[in-house]
Every structure is written in structure tokens, then in C-alpha cells.
């Protein structure tokens, strides 16, 4: 007997490559990674991407206890543990650090910086009010609120400037150096951090999980009592999604594999059948994953799930091969099978792979991953069947088990039911009525948030953090760009005026902009003009006030001299270098090779239309709604893929017309087309919205449906065996996809449901159609 050297070489190659890939493989769960990048200015787009990535890495913790002291200690220990873990960067739980640096920065530029309020007073020539406030500060406890002493900051301009810099984080208030919120008898301390790796990387999630566990321990130990730790940010949702999906892929994959192998064992009564089937499957999966790794560097979870549903498809080739023995059980030899099944298998695999190849053309990283993992997986599984099975399968055939023969007869009976024209018309009418009903209730969904993978408990925690802080993390922000740094700052200042007006109308809760701490040079010049004209001249406000209090002339002259020496404007470079800019530094995107940009973050947007309108009014300002943009992209591709589906039907119909002539071509296309329409209708009836991912499922349905119909048509002379092959194939595919419908991830569940219902219908319609071929022959 000839050794299957080709097959052995193939298996060895796949095993070697996969053993190299396996330890390097990273599984990604970020839905955004599935999608193409938004179009527009590439530099700005890249900067937005960077900022959005940072935003997605932010994690907010609230460390709470009934005892404020315990909460403070626990938060310090918690933050310390996160810091040393290496899994988190920029861990922040004390806010005062920038203040001392802020005092120095202000004093060095005191002739160009003013709080908005003081600037307005001087603009309105209300120097008298400034003097009165300064008098009150000198003589009452109002002065105790000032972080700079009276001699260095006689009128309190510096104190006002510094107080202006302290950001409002919703309800959070400074207690000592920590930001805290109090609610229901508990004090919560705010701890902010950024993940050191991508929150969507499975490998990083494990690291973060360990770091969080030890930080929780440290917090409990420091408090000496249980502390409540609330978490908000993408990390926990992504971690949950990875865990759940991995568990489900593992569980469903195992159930499907075991069931399929058990079916093969029962049917072919030979241990080699499931063993060889398993071999082909494993080789296909390993090859698909390896190819994806080499092409993309990572493997997306959704692609992996999609790939796992391949089990049902890839096992088909093994089934077709083995089922061939029932054609002539007594005389069958494995080598005979090739002569009979090669053409249908190649034709079917070719159609499926063509369907996937179409996806490779789309600019969708996620879809291309799905396509590649499927094409390579199927090709290798197919090759295993051709190269290994003939030499390794048992040398003789066995007859069809009687239970199976009865099942096939029953199926043929179902197909025969529709032989009369009247029955056909009745069924057609029912189908049309159902389709009409379903189509009328059809619902489309492209909202990314609806597709996010999370649980009510985690979403509840997210909402509780937002409630306690009084502000939700907004994924929408404004991007300000311009030809120079100062142009950006000037545009920001114009924008800030409009945003304050919007705030006053209740359209917006808060916003944060760099220009609050770093005014444009233009505005700093205006401020300097005001200070020179009204404050630091010999009869200005400072000398007047200081003389009134009783300072001697030398001290007053020194103060004026110091202010005059501090007249150089504050520059972005100097600001960025000072610890005073820590809190706002991230918002300054800086020089993007010829263009400058900054981000203005928003809190609590109540009037989205008004914010969007602002972006149109002020040049250089763009409203960035990444989730909204992605939803729009999803909608766009949902429509595109639907059109592609139509095109694919046209192409396949043309191929069938050329091969089988008009009459049979229409019958062959009827199975996938009818199944697709009925599946869409069924989804409408079940109120499952049509998403891009459902449409992709429909594309797969076309490939499988054509495969079934053609296989039955090609093998029309041996109808029973072909019927068995196709039925086995449909049952196994329905099984592996049907399990996906039970996924707790809506995205995966919708793909599973579409495929399970669709393939069931495809199979049924192909049987009915095949009944007609039989009738004709």
C-alpha cells in the first residue's frame, strides 16, 4: 500500500508552523479593530486614534469606606500597589502635586496671566472692585483661601488664577490631597490610572487582573476592614468579553466536536472515521490560525469564533468521503471514493472559498481575518481528506445503518410532498406571506454600543461610578487644529466662550481645555496690556493697595520690578515641561508634522446637536464621535455587504446558468435564495435586528446553500448517498452554529442564530429542489 507521504509532509509542516505561532499569538477583543479607520486628514486621524487609544486605557476607581480615614489609607495603598505592579501607568490619587509648581509658573509669568474673572474686571475698568476684594482678603478670613501670600500676590490675581486651574471632576472635592465623593454614609476616594497595555489584549488582561487583585488586598489590609472598590473603564468589560467568549468558544467547540465525532462513529462504525475527521479539523484550524497570525500579527476574537463554526463545514469533507461507502458497501475501496467525491467536494469548497475571498477585498481588518482563517482552514482540511484518507481509511465498506436508512426515507418523503403543483403553490404562498410579515417588522441596528460585550453587573457598576462622580466618561470630544500652536489656542479660546454659553443654557455640564492653563500668546498680550495700564504702573492698583496697607516704597518698587521681569508669555514648551501641566498635558496633541492640534474634552453632553453645530461654526474645530462614526461605518458596510450579496447571487447564477442551463440553475439558486429571504423574515419576526454581522452570515449561507444544491444535483444518480452527505453536513453545521446562538455575546449570538436558521432552511429547500431533479431523471 502507498504511504501518504504528501499528507504526512503537510501535517508536519502545519504542526511545526503552529508550534511556532501558538506561544506568540495574541487574541484581540476590541471591536474597533474589526473596522476600517475613519477617512479624513491622515495626520489628524492618527492623532485622534492616539488620543482615543489613551482614552480607552483610562480606568477610574472609587475606593470607599464608611470611615473617611480608612478610605484615604486604602486608596493610598491601592494606588501604591497599582503603581508597582507595572500593569498600570499614570496612577493618580493625589492632586496637590501640581499646585506648588503652578505657583512658580504663575509668578514667572505674572504679567501675562489672569483669571477670566479678573480679566473681565480690568477690561471693564472695575479696578475698584479688585481693590475691595483685596481689602477684604487682607482683613478677613477670605484671605485664608489664598494659596499665595499677600506680599507676593497683593491683589490675589495669582490665587484666582490657581483656583481657576483646579478642575471640577463632577461631585468630587478635595479632601487634603485626595479627590473624594461622599454618598450614603460612605466616602469614596478617586484613583485614576491608565492601563500599561491594550485593555483589549487577552494577555494584558491577565496581568491587569493579577495587579488588581493584589491592589485590592493592599487596600483591605491598609483599611483594616472591607473596602468597596468600584471600577469604571473599558478594561473590565473587555476582560469579561474575553473570558466569556473564550469559555464559550471552548465549550461550544467541544460540544460540537464531540457530537460530530460521535455521529461519525455511529454512522461508519469505525474508530478511524472520527479520528481522521478530527485530524483534518485540527490541521485546518491550526493552519487557519497560523496564516492569520502571519498576515495580521494578531487574531481577533470574532474571527476565532467564526473560525470555530468552521468545524461544521470542514468536517463535511470527511463526511462526504466516508459516506461514499454506502453507495456500494460490499465492493467499496477508499481509493474509489476519490473518483466519486472529488468533484463535488472541490466544487463545494471552491464556492465557499470564493464567498470568503470576496471578504478579503473589503477594507475590513476583521472580515479579512475571518476570510483568511476560513479559506486556509478549509483548504488544509480538504487537502487532508484527499492526501491522507484514501491510504488510511479502513479497506472495506459497510452498509448504511438501518436507523439512518429510515431517516433518509423520511427525508425523501418530505421532499416528495411538494410534487403536486397545488402543494407547491400553497407552500409558495405561505412562504411569501411569512416573508412579507417578517420584512415589515425588519429592524436594522448599527449602534456599536448595542454590540459591545458586557454584563448588567458591570454596566451597573459603570453607572454607579458615573452617578457618584456626577459625570460620565464621554467618548465624544472636540478636536481643535490649526497651522500654529497659537492658532490652536486662539481657536480653543473662541470655542471655550461658546461652550460656556452652552453650559449656561444647560446643554453641557463641563469641558476641559488646555487654554485654561496655557492661554494663547495673543490673549497673554491683551492681559499684559491690561496689567501694565491699570495694575503695575506707579499710580496703578498694586502700588495704591500696598501703600494703603502700609508697605514701604522699596517693597512696592521691588514688587513692580518683579512683575515687569515676568512679562515674557508662557509658551507651550515651558508649560509642558512644568509639573503644573500634568493634569492637562494629554490634551495637547502638539506638532503633527506641520499642523497643530489639541483636544477639548466634554462632560455630560445634553444637547449633542448644539455641540456639533459649534464645530461647524468655529474654523479648525471638529466634533469627534468615534462610537457614532463607527456606527455609521457599520451601517455603511452593512449596506455595502448587502449589495455585495446581491452581486454574489448574480455571479453564481451566471455560473450555474452556464453549467446547468436556465431550468436547473433557477432550481439550484432557489435553495440559498429562499433560505436567505426566509431567514431575514424570521429575524424580523423574532425582533433580532439586522446587523453587519448578520449580513455576513447571509453571505456564508449563500456559499453553503449553493454547495448543498450542487452536491445533490451532481450526485443525482445516487440520490440516497448524496442526500445523506448533504444532511450530515447540514446537521453538523447547524449544530456548531446553533450552539453559537446561545452565546451571551449578542454579536456572536446573532451570527449563530442566522446561520442555524438559515442552514436549516437551506437544507430543507435543497432537499425539495433535489426531489424535483430526481423526478425529472
Amino acid at each position: 500500500m502507498k504511504r501518504p507521504w504528501g499528507g504526512i509532509a503537510l501535517l508536519a509542516l502545519v504542526a511545526a508552523v503552529f508550534s511556532y505561532v501558538q506561544p506568540r499569538l495574541r487574541v484581540e477583543t476590541d471591536l474597533l479593530d474589526l473596522l476600517p479607520r475613519a477617512s479624513g486628514d491622515a495626520r489628524v486621524g492618527a492623532a485622534i486614534d492616539r488620543f482615543s487609544t489613551r482614552l480607552s486605557r483610562k480606568v477610574v476607581f472609587l475606593v470607599g469606606s464608611t470611615d473617611p480615614g480608612a478610605a484615604a489609607g486604602a486608596a493610598t495603598a491601592f494606588a501604591g500597589a497599582l503603581r508597582v505592579s507595572g500593569a498600570f501607568d499614570a496612577v493618580q490619587h493625589e492632586m496637590g502635586a501640581g499646585l506648588a509648581a503652578g505657583v512658580d509658573l504663575y509668578l514667572a509669568h505674572r504679567d501675562t496671566l489672569l483669571s477670566r474673572r479678573d480679566e473681565r474686571l480690568l477690561e471693564a475698568h472695575q479696578g475698584q472692585q479688585v481693590l475691595q476684594a483685596a481689602q477684604l482678603a487682607a482683613f478677613t478670613p477670605a484671605g485664608l483661601l489664598r494659596p499665595i501670600d499677600l506680599r507676593r500676590d497683593p491683589l490675589g490675581f495669582g490665587s484666582d488664577w490657581l483656583l481657576d486651574q483646579i478642575p471640577a471632576i463632577g461631585n468630587a472635592r478635595l479632601r487634603g490631597t485626595q479627590l473624594t465623593v461622599a454618598a450614603a454614609g460612605r466616602t469614596y476616594v478617586l484613583v485614576m490610572a491608565e492601563t500599561a497595555g491594550s485593555p483589549y489584549s487577552a494577555e494584558f488582561q491577565d496581568r491587569a487582573e493579577r495587579a488588581l487583585a493584589s491592589a485590592r488586598n493592599a487596600a483591605t489590609q491598609a483599611a483594616g476592614a472591607p473596602v468597596e472598590i468600584l471600577q469604571s473603564g473599558a478594561l473590565q468589560h473587555a476582560t469579561h468579553a474575553t473570558r466569556t467568549s473564550r469559555r464559550e468558544v471552548g465549550l461550544f467547540g467541544t460540544i460540537a466536536t464531540v457530537a460530530v465525532l460521535a455521529l461519525m462513529l455511529a454512522l461508519f462504525r469505525d474508530w478511524r472515521a472520527p479520528a481522521l475527521g478530527m485530524l483534518a479539523l485540527t490541521a485546518g484550524a491550526a493552519a487557519g490560525i497560523s496564516a492569520t497570525y502571519f498576515a495580521f500579527g494578531t487574531l481577533h476574537l470574532v474571527a476565532l469564533v467564526f473560525g470555530s463554526s468552521l468545524i461544521g463545514v470542514a468536517i463535511d469533507y470527511s463526511m462526504h468521503f466516508y459516506a461514499d461507502q454506502f453507495r456500494a458497501p460490499r465492493t467499496w475501496k477508499p481509493a474509489d471514493a476519490l473518483a466519486h467525491v472529488t468533484r463535488p467536494i472541490l466544487f463545494g469548497a471552491g464556492a465557499t472559498m470564493l464567498g470568503y475571498a470576496g471578504l478579503l477585498l473589503l477594507p475590513f481588518p476583521g472580515l479579512r481575518q475571518m476570510a483568511l482563517i476560513s479559506i486556509v482552514g478549509l483548504a488544509v482540511a480538504c487537502a487532508c481528506v484527499f492526501l491522507i484518507f484514501p491510504a488510511t481509511a479502513r479497506r472495506s465498506g459497510r452498509p448504511l445503518p438501518s436507523w439512518c436508512a429510515r431517516a433518509i426515507d423520511a427525508l425523501t418523503g418530505i421532499a416528495g410532498v411538494l410534487h403536486s403543483t397545488r402543494a407547491r403553490l400553497a407552500v409558495a404562498f405561505l412562504v411569501l406571506a411569512f416573508a412579507g410579515f417578517g420584512f415589515a417588522r425588519l429592524d436594522f441596528a448599527d449602534n456599536l454600543r448595542a454590540l459591545q460585550m458586557s454584563t448588567p453587573a458591570l454596566i451597573g457598576q459603570e453607572r454607579r461610578v458615573a452617578d457618584l462622580l456626577g459625570t460620565a466618561g464621554e467618548s465624544r470630544f472636540l478636536l481643535v487644529s490649526g497651522p500654529t500652536a497659537d492658532a490652536v489656542l486662539q481657536a480653543e479660546e473662541a470655542l471655550a466662550d461658546s461652550l460656556r454659553a452652552l453650559q449656561a443654557r444647560g446643554g453641557l455640564t463641563s469641558f476641559t481645555a488646555v487654554s485654561r492653563a496655557l492661554p494663547s500668546v495673543q490673549r497673554q498680550r491683551v492681559v499684559r496690556g491690561l496689567l501694565d495700564a491699570q495694575v503695575y504702573r506707579p499710580d496703578g492698583l498694586v502700588p495704591t493697595f500696598m501703600q494703603g496697607l502700609g508697605f514701604d516704597e522699596a517693597t512696592i518698587a521691588a514688587e513692580i520690578d518683579a512683575a515687569r521681569r515676568a512679562r515674557a508669555p508662557l509658551t507651550p514648551a515651558e508649560w509642558l515641561a512644568s509639573p503644573a501641566s500634568t493634569a492637562l498635558r494629554d490634551l495637547w496633541l502638539g506638532d503633527l508634522k506641520g499642523a497643530y492640534a489639541s483636544v477639548v474634552t466634554l462632560g455630560g453632553i445634553h444637547d449633542v446637536a448644539a455641540v456639533r453645530a459649534l464645530a461647524g461654526k468655529i474654523p479648525g474645530v471638529h466634533f469627534v464621535d468615534r462610537v457614532g462614526d463607527i456606527s455609521a461605518v457599520l451601517a455603511h458596510y452593512r449596506r455595502t455587504v448587502l449589495q455585495l450579496l446581491g452581486l454574489a447571487y448574480a455571479l453564481i447564477l451566471a455560473a450555474l446558468l452556464w453549467r446547468y442551463g436556465p431550468r436547473d440553475a433557477c432550481r439550484l439558486i432557489a435553495a440559498p435564495l429562499g433560505a436567505t429571504l426566509l431567514t431575514i423574515a424570521a429575524l424580523g419576526v423574532a425582533h433580532v435586528p439586522i446587523t453587519l454581522f448578520v449580513v455576513l452570515g447571509l453571505l456564508l449561507l449563500l456559499a453553503l446553500g449553493v454547495d448543498y444544491a450542487v452536491f445533490l444535483r451532481e450526485a443525482a444518480r445516487d440520490h440516497r448517498t448524496a442526500l445523506l452527505s448533504v444532511s450530515l453536513s447540514a446537521v453538523t453545521t447547524m449544530l456548531s452554529c446553533g450552539l453559537l446562538a446561545f452565546s451571551s455575546t449578542p454579536l456572536i449570538a446573532s451570527i449563530g442564530l442566522t446561520l442555524a436558521v438559515g442552514i436549516g432552511l437551506c437544507w430543507l429547500l435543497a432537499l425539495v429542489g433535489a426531489g424535483n431533479f430526481k423526478g425529472n431523471t
Binding site: A100, L136, L144, P147, L163, G176, T177, D552
Partner: protein, 222 residues
């Protein structure tokens, strides 16, 4: 033994006695930080209950502020009203009449017929400042503990609480505070980082557990 020598011995003994009996004022108070609970149990044992039930506190004050570079302190006097949940009303009668209201909604300054307001939305830090001042005047130890290292000691019928800001934060406005009193807080001394010193003395202080009536609350509402 001669009378003279005997008298000399008595004088010496009295002097020694005085030296031993009178503790050095600044020494000792800041020796070791204490927890609020410890202060309530020891130094403030007699008055802690009154402090915690006080809703409204009013009285007269004299504030003396010594600023480096100024030959004489800046002195003002007037009356004050503290109401839990409402804020602080501070009225000076000398050297000029003015009104300073700090409430959770913001700060209002009235003097010479004009009024200036800074809302909490404009300066979120105001609320923190109010909470801190209020805690100091009303001896809210838990709140003070969040911002300051606490110290304390008894001096006969009187007590002294020392406050040192924990690192950073707004409390940088002064480096050390001593709040002292007997039945009520009657003296606050703040030492600033640049050598400034503010001393506020209270007199005729009345504490009550009943909230403000409508007329009293009026300045906070305006």
C-alpha cells in the same frame, strides 16, 4: 539661716515652680499626631459633644494679621455667624464695614455699596475652602483629619488643637494652625509659609443646636 537667705530660697522655689508648672507654649503641642477619636476621648472630652450638636455659632471677633514687610498688624473687628449647611457670614465694622459670605453656592463680598460674587461653578475649589474653614471654626475633627495632621493638649480648663497641613493641596495657604478655647473655640492662630501670622480672637460666642430662622438665613440666600 538668715531671713534674707530664707526669702531668697522661697523666691527661687517659686521661680522654679513657675518654670516647671508653665509648659513652653509651642513645645509639646506638635510632638505627636493624634487620631480624631483620641482627641475626643482626652483633650476635648468635655466639649466634643457640644461641638458635634452645634448647628449655629455666633459672636464677635478681632482679627490681627501680621504680614512680613508691614510695620503694624492689619486689625479688623466685627461679628460672625456660622450655620451648618448654610455657610459662614463674616461682618467687619472696623476699619470698614463689609460682609463676606461663603456658602456651598459660592462666595459673596459686599463692601462700599458694591457686591461681588464668585459662584461654585466658577471656582470649584471654593467649596473645599468653605468646608475647611467651617471645620476649623466648628472643630469638626473628622473633616480636619482629612486635610491636617492633628495634635492636641490640655492646659487646665483650656485646650489647644494643633493643625499641620498634610502635603500639598489647598491647605498650603498656611503651614501651621493652633485652635484653642475652653467651652467654645475662642482663638485661632495661623502661621503662613512666608512668615505671615493671623490671629483671630472670638468673644461673646453663643452656640445653639437650633437651626437658623428665616431672618438669620437671609444673608445666605441673597
Amino acid at each position: 539661716m538668715s531671713r534674707a537667705r530664707k526669702r531668697g530660697a522661697v523666691v527661687l522655689a517659686v521661680l522654679l515652680g513657675v518654670l516647671v508648672a508653665a509648659p513652653a507654649p509651642a513645645e509639646g503641642l506638635f510632638d505627636r499626631p493624634l487620631k480624631p477619636r483620641q482627641l475626643v476621648d482626652t483633650v476635648l472630652a468635655d466639649v466634643a459633644a457640644t461641638f458635634s450638636t452645634t448647628q449655629v455659632l455666633n459672636g464677635k471677633f478681632v482679627q490681627r494679621r501680621q504680614i512680613s514687610g508691614l510695620p503694624r498688624p492689619l486689625t479688623s473687628s466685627g461679628d460672625f455667624l456660622l450655620a451648618r449647611g448654610e455657610g459662614i457670614l463674616w461682618r467687619t465694622s472696623t476699619p470698614f464695614t463689609s460682609e463676606f459670605v461663603l456658602s456651598p453656592r459660592g462666595m459673596t463680598l459686599r463692601s462700599g455699596g458694591t457686591e461681588q460674587r464668585v459662584t461654585e461653578a466658577e471656582q470649584p475649589a471654593l467649596r473645599t475652602a468653605l468646608e475647611m474653614l467651617f471645620a476649623m471654626f466648628s472643630m469638626d475633627l473628622d473633616r480636619l483629619d482629612a486635610n491636617f495632621e492633628l495634635h492636641g493638649r490640655s492646659l487646665g480648663a483650656r485646650w489647644e488643637i494643633g493643625l499641620r497641613p498634610r502635603t500639598g493641596g489647598l491647605s498650603q495657604a498656611f503651614s501651621e494652625a493652633i485652635v484653642s478655647g475652653s467651652k467654645q473655640v475662642d482663638r485661632i492662630v495661623l502661621t503662613g509659609a512666608a512668615g505671615d501670622r493671623t490671629e483671630i480672637e472670638f468673644s461673646d460666642v453663643v452656640a445653639r443646636s437650633a437651626p437658623l430662622d428665616a431672618a438669620e438665613a437671609e444673608p445666605f440666600r441673597r
